[in-house]
Amino acid sequence: MDTTPAIEDVLADLDHATELMLDGNCAPWQELLSHRDDVTLLGAYGGQVQGWPDVSARFDRTAKGYAGGGGTTVRENIASWIGSDLACVVDLERHHTRLDDNADPVTFVYRTTHVLRRENGAWKVVLRHADPLASFRGPDFAHAPAG
């Protein structure tokens, strides 16, 4: 009997984990990540990291920047493709939290692409690609001319 949780429930878990992340607690998010070598993070702060030790460390570091208290997130789904062992989800994430030691909360929007894989009866995130380009930036942002 297949006891893998429904993908909808896993995505709800991810939403909850993201809210906790915005409060500085990244443990629930890390639990939802695949621990395999190919787990990949293209985080909204830039760069790319691969493999559980580096991806996990990046989550630790990012969570430290969230001062904590009252973080919320609203995920607007743009598209989802759900297979039996692979699920791809494309969203806009609207986060509300406090950064570093700032007293005032801020709202920021990420474009996100997630790929989840079924591993040993559980859905695990194998890719998170996030960037802050939810609004149009134009060529000047994407590539600066040389010289």
Partner: protein, 143 residues
Amino acid sequence: MTSDGLLQVIRELAEASGALVNGDPEPFKSHWSHADDVTIFGGYGKHEQGWERVSSRLDWASARFRAGEINYEPHTAGSSGDLGYAVGIERGHVTVLEHGASGEIVLRVTHLFRRENGRWAVIHRHADAVTEIHAPSHLLHDH
């Protein structure tokens, strides 16, 4: 868990990116699904959905490029059933119409694929130039 078929398509897509930055979007577009659910998170920001809008966006972007070259550095890829994904870096030089001078381009890219009629078709592209690590405050500009 990546089928050889997908790796081949990833290679072809990389070549097609080269044509796109030389003003010809057709090879790149030929790899896409023409379905209503396709989406693009383009390198210039915002998003488009549905083949008509995605296709227009690719035309628009390509029309801004001249004399470019792009190399694809594959990072990871996987597939299962009728879905696949690929993550890599597109790195090269492009001449952008607005600037008139050649500039470096480095994009983090994720492509999602769906098997349609026996071939892997692109259903989503996520590209951004966020290759350097920024402080959180940097992200708050322009929102």
